[in-house]
Amino acid sequence: MSSNKKYQKGKVIEDHEFDGIKELDNPPPSWLMYVFYLSIFFSVLYWGYYHAFNEGPNQYEEYEMEVAAASAVMDARSAQLPPEVSIASTDPADFEAGKALFMGKACFACHGMNGEGNAIGPNLTDDFSLHGCDFESTIKVIKTGVPEKGMTPYEGQLAQKEIEQLATYILSLKGSKPDNAKEAQGEKCK
């Protein structure tokens, strides 16, 4: 075996036998010792960089840097985008996309499979609303939520386009009269 050269055979240490086990007087492999010294050297540098000389950022500074970098990219991006449009879509594709979001985001968990409402959320299909009936108000509720009542804000989770699609679908449910509809809440729509 070629490693025989690298790892010497070594002599048996006398006076050192335990239940038949003997030990050799080989030195530790030098590469392993170098790894050890290197790791100690690294540790000293690491400590120096972050603490003794305070060069490295701490985790909160790292966070600020990460957020600043992201918002710079976002700002540059939003400068190029056309302004937001807020009119209910009539495109059936948007309606289907909205329906998929209603299921995918589990809106039905609180508003029922057909928007009929349940013990948690209000009926979306009747002619009453707690937070306004028009497209704008619906968009607003989806975006900012009603956290104190448990409605999640979806602004960070859905793109503007998706929020519009979802609002389109929700408004289309008005007057659909599903089974088990929850009693009306809020103001009658004009």
Partner: protein, 821 residues
């Protein structure tokens, strides 16, 4: 020279062998169950004692203390007698150790199933068992020390150094981490809180790996590997260097479990650098083992025992390479809280501990029963099936860990989380969870083959209980060094001094990290708005601890954009000061819960959502793998020790007012009524109410502004009666205020009635204006000065004042003090 006749106690080795096999089977069966519960949550059977949060600690305790612990004692009791050429010091202590240990593990399985748990990872057991462990451990220590003193060999061999380090290390860790104050026979609070508890616990947790799973097994390796290979140990010098550097460095590395979490930066840095420095000392053990096999690699081909050893030692080398790697902060940022961690631990547990134990048993049983192994072929098959099982376990989990972490961190071009719903990132992993369970099944199959093989060997052989041997007595040695004896050579014949030096090497790391955390106040800056848990919230927290929620949910938002976006503000050092014990967790099978109480936060859910979710998780989160907790709804809250709990908390420094313990129960009932009123059909006495109260406390205190607990400065204001102003005010009111105070100011479940003559925050124009402008953040009322301009504030306040006394329908009951305007 005189030759003394004596015997080795093989009966104690046999007892521990039986226990190893028994608990090994139990541990693997339980492991398979929990592996299946992840992709198939219905396998929790809606039974409290079979639910993942309670069963996973049973698995880890059965593996670590039942299977691996008994394997250690099997090997130690066998090898120590032979290495020191003497019988164990005391038959009584040996038996006391054996039966005491088995009783503890049995009690552990029962109590953890019942939910009697401190929910500190790998130190879950309640205080009576902690005391029992200490007693048994002392008996073990007395027994091995006595044995070393009456030995017939001049020196103690390297295996025994590692046994000594094991004993000292575990004694130190167990005692320091288990300081707790009982509130009843089966419940206690640890004296450490929050950050302190986290540091102490992971100093313990990390070093339980060091001194229960590493050092004793290195000791076993140093005995069994050269015995089986019949080769001399490669390097005595390497033994010395890697032994002392390993035990010294290990104790410092604990904080690497808390990287990017709410602990001081200096502690994290120590965790990083000491983990890096551990690489070479850890590898020293692997290298010394593998080089000992030099020249007999051909034997490995046909000796299954050596195969087990080689893969075990290699797995050790892999795990101890991965350890420092995972301790780099940038790697840890990806790996932590994901399945990468269990993958790493199972390479260690299944590979290093498991395979080494199997190899040892295949060698020992034939010797104890005086016959060769029943089937070498079957042992060979066991080796292959165990190795493949381990790979089927670990590879999918590495995959799962990286996949999920990348999904957590991914942003869309619009700057939003690509997978905002945590569940999406879990569902993705389900096929991998199933493959992992298959790996566990394979490993278990191999174990059953071994049971059969060893059983056959035992039945066909004849057990030798007291092995008769003879040896010359130990000559009397001088106290000082003899001639050219090295210092270490001298220390090797002084077991008591050796133990003391090992203790010194071990104690330093812990002292440097733990003492400043407790004594130096600057390490834990306080936050004024953080208040103690209300009695109901405290009860809820104790339920969270009882159910072992930490097994799947963390309470620690790291300062990453992706986590702040998903959960809310990152965790602060000062927000955990009343947490006995801390519950940061180490794995996110479900989402982080640190911000579930931040009203208007991303994680906030209403009381009725929590109620429905706990009763039937599918109803609110389709596709979820969260098990149902129907008993939280069926069980009535047990408040019998509430008074004592508050008193213990006060003793630990939680600032409840004096005499509060007597008032706690009535406060609890009041808060429970309020929460239950928000949930149709809920019983205010059921346990779920306390759990919801706790969910709504998490993170709430730091989300309110700093002045909320003091009355804001009164702002001068006189209401206007101008019709135009009132009209504008009404419009503002309808859009912004009606949700909580009713369309006509009548109040609702959330906000108070505004039009009666009772006031919570004062009834003058100025008081009302101040309440609108500054808000009452603690109760959810916004500070409108941030959201509206001065004119709007004037308008809406004037409008609200104008409708006082209007007597609307459905008016809410009066709250606060009556004031005549």
């Amino acid at each position: 020279m005189e030759i003394q006749k004596f015997s080795y106690d093989n009966k104690i080795v046999r007892l521990f062998t039986y226990a190893t096999l028994f608990y090994g089977l139990i541990a693997l069966l339980v492991g398979l169950l929990i592996a299946l519960q992840i992709p198939f949550p219905e396998m929790n059977f809606k039974l409290s004692f079979l639910t993942f949060g309670r069963v996973r600690p049973i698995h880890t305790n059965a593996v670590i203390f039942g299977f691996i612990g008994n394997a250690i004692f099997t090997g130690v009791y066998y090898s120590m007698q032979r290495l020191l050429k003497t019988r164990m010091y005391s038959n009584f202590l040996s038996r006391f150790h054996f039966w005491g240990w088995q009783l503890i593990i049995l009690s552990a399985a029962v109590t953890l199933g019942l939910g009697l748990s401190q929910s500190k990872e790998y130190a879950e057991l309640e205080w009576p068992l902690d005391i029992a462990i200490a007693l048994v451990w002392i008996a073990f220590g007395a027994n091995i020390t006595g044995t070393m003193i009456k030995r017939r060999t001049k020196h103690i061999y390297v295996a025994i150094w590692f046994y000594i380090a094991t004993w000292v290390g575990i004694a130190l860790l167990h005692v320091v981490n288990s300081i707790e104050i009982p509130t009843s026979w089966f419940h206690s609070y640890p004296v450490y809180a929050g950050v302190q508890d986290a540091i102490v616990q992971w100093w313990y947790g990390h070093n339980a790996v060091a001194f229960f799973l590493t050092t004793p097994f290195l000791g076993l390796m140093y005995y069994f590997l050269p015995k089986v290979a019949n080769r001399p140990v490669y390097s005595y010098k390497l033994s010395i260097i890697h032994f002392w550097s390993l035990i010294f460095l290990y104790m410092w590395a604990g904080p690497h479990h808390l990287l990017y979490q709410a602990i001081p930066a200096w502690a994290q840095t120590l965790g990083v650098v000491f983990s890096v420095m551990l690489l070479a000392p850890s590898w020293g053990g692997m290298i010394n083992g593998l080089l000992t096999l030099r020249g007999v690699w051909d034997k490995v081909r046909d000796e299954p025992i050596l195969k087990f050893f080689v893969v075990a030692v290699t797995a050790y080398g892999m795990a101890t390479f991965e350890g420092p790697l995972l301790s780099f902060k940038n790697v840890n940022a990806i790996s932590h809280f994901t399945d990468w961690t269990p993958a790493h631990t199972h390479i260690g547990g299944m590979g290093w501990n498991g395979l080494l134990t199997f190899g040892m048993l295949y060698w020992l049983v034939p010797r104890l029963w005086g016959r060769e192994l029943f089937s070498k072929k079957l042992a060979n098959t066991h080796f292959w099936i165990a190795t493949i099982g381990m790979l089927f376990w670990a590879i999918p989990m590495y995959w799962a860990g990286v996949t999920q972490s990348l999904m957590w961190k991914e942003f869309t071009e619009d700057g939003m989380l690509a997978y905002p719903n945590f569940l999406e990132t879990v569902v993705q992993l389900i096929p991998l969870f199933k493959t992992r369970a298959l790996g566990g099944l394979l490993y278990l199959t191999g174990f059953i083959m071994m049971l059969y093989n060893l059983r056959k060997t035992m039945v066909l052989g004849k057990f030798i209980g007291d092995e008769q041997v003879s040896a010359p007595p130990l000559e009397v040695l001088p106290k000082k060094r003899i001639g050219n004896e090295t210092v270490h050579g001298w220390l090797e014949r002084k077991p008591v001094q050796f133990t003391i030096w090992a203790f010194v090497a071990l104690a330093i790391g812990g002292l440097v990290e733990i003492v400043p955390m407790i004594t130096i106040k600057a390490n834990i800056p306080t936050i004024a708005t953080v208040t103690p848990y209300s009695p109901l919230e405290l009860q809820g927290r104790d339920m969270y601890v009882r159910e072992g929620c930490y097994n799947c949910h963390s309470q620690q938002v790291r300062p990453f954009r992706s986590e702040v976006e998903r959960y809310g503000d990152y965790s602060k050092v000062g927000e955990f000061v009343y947490d006995h014990p801390f519950q940061w967790g180490s794995k996110r099978t479900g989402p982080d819960l640190a911000r579930t109480g931040v009203v208007a936060g991303k994680m906030y859910k209403t009381a009725s959502w929590h109620y429905n979710h706990m009763l039937d998780p599918e109803s609110t989160s389709p596709g979820t793998i969260m098990p149902a907790y129907p008993w939280l709804i069926d069980n009535k809250m047990n408040n019998s020790s509430l008074k004592r709990k508050i008193e213990v908390m006060q003793y630990l420094g939680v600032p409840y007012p004096e005499g509060y313990a007597d008032q706690a129960l009535s406060d609890l009932k009041k808060q429970a009524e309020e929460i239950a009123a928000e949930i149709p059909g809920a019983d205010p006495e059921s346990e779920i109410i306390a759990m919801i109260a706790y969910m709504h406390k998490l993170g709430r205190d730091i989300s309110v502004s700093d002045t909320s607990d003091e009355d804001p400065v009164l702002m001068d204001f006189t209401a206007s009666y101008d019709a135009q102003v009132l009209d504008a005010g009404k419009t503002f009111y309808t859009t912004n205020c009606a949700a909580c105070h009713g369309l006509n100011g009548e109040g609702n479940a959330i906000g108070p009635n505004l039009v009666d003559n009772a006031y919570l925050h004062g009834g003058t124009d100025s008081h009302i204006y101040t309440a609108v402008s500054e808000g009452v953040p603690a109760k959810g009322m916004q500070a409108w000065k941030h959201l509206a301009n001065k004119n709007q504030l004037n308008e809406v306040t004037s409008y609200v004042i104008s409708i006082i006394g209007s007597n609307p329908d459905n008016a809410k009951a009066a709250q606060g003090e009556v004031f005549d305007r």
